[in-house]
Subunit: 195 residues, 2 copies
Amino acid sequence: MAKIEFYYDFASPYSFLAATKIEEVAGRCQAETVWKPFGLGFVFKETGNHMPASVQAKASYMFKDLARWAEFYNEPFKMPSIFPINTIMALRATLAVDDPAKVKELSLAIFRAYWAEGKDISKPEVVAQIADGAGLDGQALTAATGDQKIKDRLRDNTADAIKRGAFGAPTIFVGDEMFWGNDRLEMLEYHLKGK
Amino acid sequence: MAKIEFYYDFASPYSFLAATKIEEVAGRCQAETVWKPFGLGFVFKETGNHMPASVQAKASYMFKDLARWAEFYNEPFKMPSIFPINTIMALRATLAVDDPAKVKELSLAIFRAYWAEGKDISKPEVVAQIADGAGLDGQALTAATGDQKIKDRLRDNTADAIKRGAFGAPTIFVGDEMFWGNDRLEMLEYHLKGK
């Protein structure tokens, strides 16, 4: 069974879009997914890449483009009033979850809380509440974000992604084949189906 | 009939990819196209945007991504040995053509000469030969690239695109709706078909 490694940061709207669709793609391709939270800010810093929104004309376009994709995917979407946002704590909380299925469920819930409802996911109490809603122990998870073991998981995921060629988010790997952006899910599917 | 305005620079590989497909998209949507050569280097400069290839990890990915798209489109593609390249003269030569159908034919021929055959399209004699092959008077066209009227056409197309929000290439407009990249042709089609 092919393995799709999905690197994402809650701060990235295109990661959110990809997150809502990647399981469907995997299902159609009989592939399995591994969800890997990583720190996009650090990726930008290490690779010398820029936030798309750092160019004004690009930022204006991006907001329209995101709204279009959300409509195309039939996903509620609203540009959050807090943007950019610090997602390190939320990413670590996700990495404190052991059950892979719950990692996906919690990640989608955090993505939607931020990108559809505008919640301040930089706050532990907000993330804890989202985790509770996903049937997890929110308080335990946010408390675990201070553990070195959990911090290392985020650092390692980020370093691995950069080493493999990532410079933005979402970044998806099938072995050494890299796909950047929700707009490459079609290409990912084409690749997985053996062309 | 909806009008698709297609801004492109021969230096842009994603413009090349879009150029090979845009007439098919227009045909399916019963729309007409207007091909508008513009100067991408000036767009980058004016908007503060960066060449994608300016970030090393992005450049490495881009070359793979381009090869994938070319295969997906069934278009011969080879990264030219001369890259980046000065395309101002070739763009002006295209703008010296009066017949819109010939503008498209010549543009595609120049795109393919560069992106499939690696020809040095910064040279007037190379562009003249390509134009001859498209049934045009190559020498007259390359001579016309020195005319102020022709220079102004390129300058005006570029300024118009920037004013309308362009920051990269290809950039496609349907009225005020802007689409950036060959990877948005599907979204363009979705938009034109009234969703």
